[in-house]
Amino acid sequence: MSQIKSIADLKKKREETRTGLNIRNKPTDPENNVEVKVAMATCGIASGAKPIMEFFVEQLDRRNIPGVVTQTGCMGYCYAEPTVEIKLPGKDSVVFGFVDLKRADMIIEKYIKEGELIDGIIPVNYETIDSKE
């Protein structure tokens, strides 16, 4: 890793990561990658997010779905932990709540493979500063 010594360096790094963010260190065919984010703050982990994350890592691989699974922080939906956000290529991301192993399997089979929504999606009920401007 090189040091960031100027604003230009920072910008370069940002552009690099921007284009790479979708691939999350997997340089193969970023356009068709499924992104899975698992809310892994203390609260998420306590309600069982870890095995869910492992399940997605293992099963995407086993079912030959090109995708990347990452951890992220608290999404704020404590009542619906564990929560998982899925971004299919070219679509808005969707948040699923109360994800246990059975539901995780359903998410892969129905949503990721077929694009069919399943009950219990959590609608995004906030704006962030990006969407504000």
């Binding site: 890793m1 040091q3 960031i4 010594k5 100027s6 604003i7 920072l10 790094k13 940002r14 690099e16 990561t17 921007r18 790479g20 963010l21 999350r24 984010k37 809310a39 703050a41 203390t42 609260c43 982990i45 990452t70 951890q71 992220t72 922080g73 608290c74 999404m75 704020g76 939906y77 404590c78 009542y79 619906a80 929560t83 956000e85 299919l88 709540g97 077929e114 694009g115 069919e116 929504l117 399943i118 009950d119 219990g120 999606i121 959590i122 609608p123 995004v124 009920n125 906030y126 704006e127 962030t128 500063i129 990006d130 504000k132 401007e133």
Partner: protein
Amino acid sequence: MSKYSMHLMVCGGTSCHGSESDAIVWNLRDELEAKGLTNKVQVILTGCFGFCEKGPIVKVMPDNIFYVQVKPEDAQSIVEEHIIKGKIVTRLLYHDPKTDKPIGDSKHAGIFKKQLRIVLRNCGFINPESIDEYIARYGYQALGKALTEMTPQDVIKVIKDSGQRGRGGAGFPTGLKWEIASKSQSDEKYVVCNADEGDPGAFMDRSVLEGDPHSVLEAMAICGYSIGASNGLIYVRAEYPLAVHRLQVAIAQAREYGLLGKDIFGTGFNFDIELRFGAGAFVCGEETALIHSMEGLRGEPTIKPPFPAEAGFRGKPTNVNNVETYAAIPVIILKGAEWFSKIGTEKSKGTKVFALAGKINNVGLVEVPMGTTLREIIFEIGGGIRHGKKFKAVQTGGPSGGCLTEKHLDIPIDFDNLVAAGSMMGSGGMIVMDEDDCMVSVAKFYLEFTVEESCGKCAPCRIGNKRLHELLNHITEGKGSVDDLSRLRNMSLVIKDTALCGLGQTSPNPVLSTLDNFMEEYVAHVKDKKCPAGKCKSLMEYYIIPENCVGCTACARVCPVNAISGQRKEIHNINPEVCIKCGACMEKCKFDAIIIR
């Protein structure tokens, strides 16, 4: 890839569920089937949209149209008009209460989205253990801007003009704090992040540290530049192991990139950050006690002045801010003071994160602009009270705050309005209570906490709170008198006036605010020896209504202390002397014959 070209999303949040969203789903599915559209349009039940006041809600995707207060019989119009003919059903749209104009597009303004995430902008979005992802979201851009384009005075001016106030509880203007620290002369200064989050029910600082640690590091470096400090310290609880781990990862990554350390951005500015662990004492959230704890001394407060900005860590000028305060700084630098000061109320700018907990449907972390009302937070974002019970009170500000009631639901929340209403912002814990909560017990709970957490240095807090707690105990045991109520109030006021630090000065607040807002409940406890909410065990009595009792003996068999007597097919009786009030009989009775009175 999907065979469906359209989705009908029906809100299945607890509140909408109550108003027949299941029936809406069935009717929509029936209609679609009748029209042969089941292969094209999918109907699904979703979580709460956070707009319960106008529920049930049906959202049509991809058209992004919101229908509100939908009834099961509206399914036909939605399918026939919207889906088949492509015409929006105007009568089901939300009508702006001011202009009476229909608004359908959910991307239209914040009507459908009460929350605005500034502090939580990256939480649940980026991988907190990847600095690259933070940089991709304009991370460290604000630090770069401050170092290369702004003087330290410019930075302080922006923060001052933004109107940001400290999110730790007291609401002191951040810019002013920085200015005082910058003007203090010293060879060395310190930037401290107070991550000693101790209020029961508050967890926003942990969430920020776990979800977006770099935002705090970046802000601390900006603060260091503006006040002339090159050392930063984060005081974090050892009982937040994941937050500690992610901070450590973040600090190591920032050092590797040269964003912490020597000669940052090639400007000659040096800044580095270390962690200090707290053992979880509530009083260490008070800045002087926090500094003592970091110095390796007992976590006890000292009298201010001198303020830490003049003489803090190791006697040097020290700027102490809370996690949430820091997390907003990079955004303020990038978007400017004017942008930030447009959000919020006149004297409280920006947004506030609240940890919504208690008897509420959507327990969670929410961030709303200052000036949002309690009603919007509790009944819309929070989805209302659990099990359809009646709202009674909301406790804000933790052990230093107070309980607000129905009549406060419509005041716009900001620092000053909450104080005027007899509570405070505090760190943003918000605990919702329903009709089953006894307010005397609630006050007692918080007192228990402060008695436990008092450092014991000053008498008013050490002895006074103990006495307050004893009085409350007496009252809940039915041993209180009317005189005790005035004694409670007097003692509370004395403690407030005479305690050394913020902990003691605010600890009687839960007592005072419940006395103000729920006097009748205190009176019921001391005069009638009754607990209206049925929570105080000593004050309640299980009783069998003779007319309802059929003599099935189920209650007598389940009673663990044999307090219930009565023959088969005869009316039973509970002996109050023996009864331990466990409630097992009441649960067992199928005839609603047992009540608490």
